[in-house]
Symmetry: C2
Subunit: 82 residues, 2 copies
């Protein structure tokens, strides 16, 4: 569904869903990470809603950015070695 | 920019940017969290690109979901008390 809404500085922008496919049966897709359970020093979490391994990032943001001119990317969780 | 692309099951969907405003001067918006530095037992990180406190979630996903019929929400980082 597309509705015109008022953006900043008077721009009119469309209000559209940003998640076309992931877990659409859920009212709100919220994921939790218990940070003490992270296995690796670096884990990337998806913020583009295009990952085949959501909630993890699989690099699909690259294709999305290229196709649309967007500039989104993941959230990196870092667990430095002690 | 809007380009028709092929979705799953033959649906035609539009490829559009999902981030209208956040740090558009950056080629790719990537944020890092050093999990040992999390201050609170629960911290919510934005995945809707509508937060006024990005990369943190400020609850703006609620308005976005209501306006568009979307179902997005934050990533919760949990650091249980020891
Ligand atoms: S695949 Fe979505 S941010 Fe990387
Ligand atoms: S404000 Fe973006 S997910 Fe909550």
């Amino acid at each position: 569904s597309v509705k015109p809404i008022n953006g900043k500085r008077g721009m009119t922008i469309r209000a559209e869903a940003i998640n076309p496919e992931i877990r659409k049966s859920e009212e709100k897709v919220v994921d939790s990470v218990v940070v003490s359970e992270l296995a690796k020093p670096l884990t990337a979490y998806c913020r583009c809603w295009r990952s085949g391994t959501f909630p993890l990032c699989d690099g699909s943001h690259v294709k999305h950015n290229k196709a649309t001119g967007d500039n989104v990317g993941p959230l990196l969780l870092k667990k430095p070695k002690e």
